[in-house]
């Protein structure tokens, strides 16, 4: 890690912090709207776990979904903006290693995710009584989930050449995978085929484990979830680093 890493990380955090109304306040508001609408429509009908009301059940999932989406958005939009405006050249001219670039973009994505996730939980805590979470599980799944999407955001930002390509990546991959990862329901309530399909979605484990931190209950053992989420993070990180080392779409 060179001295340049710390500066690039700081720049990436400043970049979203300077427009935090869009990058933090807006996703917190969206999560609140989901909560109000879904809890109003469904609270009377569903009790996800015994003793856990639907509105309570919804909160960790919504917080995690916001974290996943914002981790992805932070890394991918920063990279594609720099590529399209051309100012990425100043980073490419500096003696930063592929590891520096990877760590800086990934950690900044995690920071944004954590700020948004904390924002959602603090905002919701006024409306919905929540049990005190287990901090270790909470942190482990927050970091793993945000890390996975941060790495995916770097890959998408490097690969996409235009904003609509990035939007396609987001709309056809990230959105469906986060929405179908059990944010709004326990997968035990699904028919067997969809249960099996959900178990192939790595985002499901991040959400399920994050929920365990609050309720001590989950669809899958938190250890299994943590193992799968960590393995996914490692595999994606390895791939992203290889991509950065190869100079793919960055150095011609």
């Amino acid at each position: 890690m060179s001295g340049g890493f710390a500066t690039l990380f700081r720049k990436e955090v400043l970049r979203f912090w300077k427009v935090s109304f869009q990058t933090v306040a807006a996703p917190v508001l969206s999560a609140l709207l989901y909560l109000v609408i879904f809890s109003h429509a469904l609270a009377a009908h569903v009790e996800a776990y015994p003793g856990v009301g639907y509105t309570q059940f919804l909160v960790p999932g919504l917080a995690m979904m916001s974290m996943l989406q914002n981790a992805f958005a932070n890394a991918s939009s920063s990279l594609i903006q720099s590529k399209i405006t051309g100012n990425i050249v100043f980073i490419l001219l500096a003696p930063l290693t592929p590891g520096d670039l990877f760590a800086a973009y990934l950690l900044a994505a995690v920071v944004r995710a954590v700020v948004v996730g904390a924002g959602v939980i603090v905002a919701v805590a006024w409306l919905v009584p929540l049990p005190l979470p287990n901090v270790l599980w909470l942190a482990a799944f927050a970091l793993a989930g945000a890390g996975i999407l941060g790495a995916l955001g770097i890959v998408a930002g490097i690969w996409a050449e235009k904003f609509d390509q990035l939007a396609a990546f987001q709309n056809f991959l990230v959105m469906p995978l986060t929405f179908l990862a059990g944010v709004f329901y326990s997968i035990d309530s699904l028919p067997p085929f969809w249960q099996a399909a959900s178990r192939l979605n790595p985002f499901f484990y991040a959400i399920d484990g994050f929920r365990y931190a609050f309720f001590g209950r989950s669809d899958v053992s938190p250890w299994t979830s943590l193992a799968i989420a960590s393995a996914t993070l490692c595999a994606l990180s390895w791939m992203t680093l290889r991509l950065l080392r190869s100079g793919y779409k960055l150095r011609h």
Partner: protein, 308 residues
């Protein structure tokens, strides 16, 4: 021993069917003010990008102060400051923030005094805390120059730094770059303003179709391809036969009579007087790089070659 400031050995790069670099070799010595000239698409920017590590050559070696730009890229990039051709900027930050970030990418922390000096020298002081978005094109260009210098690189490459820049900035910029050169920095410059290259650079490489077609000192190139001429326009009479032999008449009706020194100017004028020719306009033109450039680019060996 570090070797030359910039060393390129047989660099090759193809983009699809185009040979952007077709076996380029050159060396720029430490402390030189070197020009890289050529028409658009000749490969100048590709060569600079290869030096900066933005383009990966298919073959060949490139070194900056003896450091290989691929295997020792971190050292090489610390020794090199590049001002890219396109105006690019990060709209999220102010001028000062941009420069502090750029210094940070190079691992430099205590660079405030030098950043202050750069801001002052490039007349950016009043805009130091303005957002990049609010700056004019010329101001953005100055910020890019400051960004390239923020880590005090011994080798500075300016890729058409004066394209679309007003006269005042051009002069401030050249004065500053000259001082940097005098202080020992090696300067490599590309420009389409050949007068700038002629006035500033001691050595020149000309590129065409990915190859170096001329590489020599500015003085030798001027001596070999251009000459001092006496230009005269006559009032309704022909050039005397004694002068007509070596002279050429251009489309505007000017006669160009080669002259080596003041004595030959005098004798040419004496012959005009003897012949009773009435001279309406007269000037002595010094050798010009533009003429050198046109002649070299027009030679057969400089003809573009398609990739096989």
């Amino acid at each position: 021993m570090a070797g030359p400031a910039v060393e390129v050995r047989d660099a090759r790069k193809r983009f699809g069917g185009v040979r952007a670099l077709d076996g380029v070799s050159l060396a720029v010595e430490e402390g030189e003010f070197f020009a890289l000239l050529g028409p658009n698409g000749a490969g100048k920017t590709t060569l600079i990008s290869a030096l900066a590590g933005l383009v990966r050559p298919d073959a060949g070696r490139l070194r900056v102060m003896g450091r290989d730009v691929a295997s020792e890229y971190r050292e090489a990039r610390r020794l090199l400051g590049i001002v890219p051709q396109e105006i690019v900027f990060d709209p999220f930050f102010t001028v000062r923030e941009i420069l502090e970030l750029q210094a940070g990418y190079f691992g430099l922390r205590a660079s405030r005094p030098w950043i202050g000096e750069l801001l002052e020298r490039l007349a950016l002081g009043p805009k130091a805390d303005a957002n990049m978005r609010s700056l004019s094109g010329g101001m953005k260009r100055r910020v890019m120059v400051a960004q390239a210098l923020v880590h005090r690189p011994p080798v500075i490459v300016l890729d058409e730094p004066t394209a679309g820049v007003d006269v005042e900035l051009r002069q401030t910029l050249w004065q500053f770059v000259r001082e940097l050169n005098a202080a020992g920095h090696t300067i490599v410059l590309t420009t389409h303003y050949l007068e700038e290259a002629q006035n500033l650079c001691s050595r020149i490489a000309m590129m065409k179709a990915g190859r170096i077609v001329a590489l020599d000192s500015t003085r030798s190139l001027l001596a070999a391809f251009s000459e001092r001429v006496l230009r005269v326009k006559l009032d309704g009479c022909a050039l005397p036969a004694t002068l007509a032999a070596g002279a050429v008449q251009d489309a505007a009706g000017w006669h160009r009579i080669p002259v080596e020194n003041a004595a030959q100017v005098e004798s040419a004028l004496a012959r005009l007087r003897e012949a009773g020719a009435r001279v309406s306009h007269l000037e002595v033109a010094e050798p010009e790089l533009e003429e050198v450039f046109v002649k070299i680019m027009g030679r057969d060996d400089a003809a573009p070659r398609e990739a096989a």
